[in-house]
Amino acid sequence: MFCIVHSFAYICAIQTDKMNIENTQAQMRKGILEFCILSILNSKEAYPSEVLEKLKDAKLIVVEGTLYPLLTRLKNMELLTYRWEESTSGPPRKYYSITEKGNKTLGTLQLTWNELQHAVESLTSK
């Protein structure tokens, strides 16, 4: 009887673990994404699809739908700015570029990232 209870509990525990892990993974990604977007736009201006491509090349998978709100938020925080570019083959596009403030924030985030990277490496290399 104990074996039945135990295996049942084991399965439930695995389910909770899975959910908790997905939660943590999402949280991890969320924090890093803004930093990555600022980095991408630091080199040159781009429109959302380009940003998406660069993220995909770097193997950071995001859905488009997540990107738009994020870009808008960063713009509202005055870290990004955009200009409209008319296109012949379709609707006009927003070209995003980084602001001075965004640049400074990028620097700060870079430092934070280095700290974190260091910490994680030293903790997990044992």
Binding site: F2, C12, T16, E64, Y68, T72, P91, R93
Partner: protein
Amino acid sequence: MKKTLSIHIGKQLFTIEEDAYSLLQSYLERLERKFQNEQGKEEIIEDIEYRFAELFASYLQSSRVVVEESDVKQAIDSLGQIEDFEAENETINEESNSKNDHSEKQNFNSTNASGQKRLFRDTDNRILGGVCAGLSHYLGIDVVFVRIIFILCLMLGFGFGLYLVLWIVFPSIKSPADRLQMQGKAVTVDTIKEEFNKAGQRIKNDTKDLDKRIKKHTDKLNAKVNPAIKTLLRVFGVFVLVGTLIYLLFATLITTGILDIIPTTGEEYYISIYEFLQMAVGDQSNLNLIWLGGLMGVFAIGFFWLIIGTRMVTSNYSKALRYGVISMIFLGIIGFSLAAIGGVKTSREFAESNRLEKQSFTVNKEELKIDLLPTFYRSHKVADTDGFDFLNFDKKNFIESGINFKFIESEDSLFHITQYYSSNGVNNKQAGNRAFNINHKVELKENTLLVDPNYTFPIKDAMRRQRVSFTVEIPKGKACYFGKERVILEDEKMSGFLDQDGDDSFEIYNEFE
């Protein structure tokens, strides 16, 4: 052929099929709901609409002019499901809640009073019977308020009955016409047509992503149930741990001999299990096998349950503990196997038996009496034995009781009594030696055979079924008394048993062979 509409999205004009349109519309609606609290929500929606336009333009290219459902699906795939978006200030848990919200609809009052409003139970938007939902249509109050009122009524006592009555009395929606009347809209050809479309849409929406919704619901259920299961396991775990600790405590006490559990009638009253095994097994190597194997097995079980209990209590299912469990199972199996081997080897010591004729008597009298020889050894009688043979011994010898008697008919006119010693051993010789070492007192006084109810044999011989027995030949016509009872031969034989049981020392019985 399909009906199309014109839409203006992302500053572009598109012709779009009807079903594609509803798909797109529901996506945008959900989008709006997702970001309803967000600061830049208009911009976000605008961006996404622009993106849709861009995608549609690229899909259509030169050959096609109408946006189809597959295009919308493709665009949605590219943009991602609303559920996977992250709105500001939303955690993953809240996200999963908002995912389930989209299936609920608010029932607002439709005051198009161009028709008669009738009270129906709104079974489309029901929780139980649709009573509250229907009432909300009729009264013009948001359904939430109606439900709150009902719950209050429930607490006051009459809510249950009231709900039941309303459920029975008022009809459910059976046709689009009913639906229109419930909302107070006029029942005309156009409105009916619209209702049919809506019905079709509803069915589509309900079956869409069904598998996804089921998964989300089960995930939510898991989230709710899991903590409950966890606490249940914790409680179980505590019981297991407590039980195991008690078990281990006793195991330690018993095996180390601090707690003596084998009852004896000797001077010590109780001896430890190791001492008992020594006497029973005899051979040292077998004893070691049994003892060590048994120890391993007993403690492996204890640690096994200890680990399981800890896992249940701390909800820690780490690999380390898993290895612990497996290794305990192994140890247990090995331990008990060793003990079993020892046991089997010991049983071989019982393979052969041997019986010695110790002495015989001949009695030429009219009757023979068999009685107890008063024994010097005063044994301490433990209160209730319940059929359990208590161990009896002094410094050097075991003291056994229980002597078998066989009564047969004598071939002549004389009583013949023969005393036998028997024992088991690994071979005949060993059995014979052990039998030889038995010591039993019997005396013949006139016509009375006095039998000591006890016999002894050395402890160093170990317990190997050492027995004393008698064969008594009774001549025809003469009487033999076994204790107070006369022995009557049936089919020329009878059996008797002498035990030191006080008043019932002598027992005659018919042995069925």
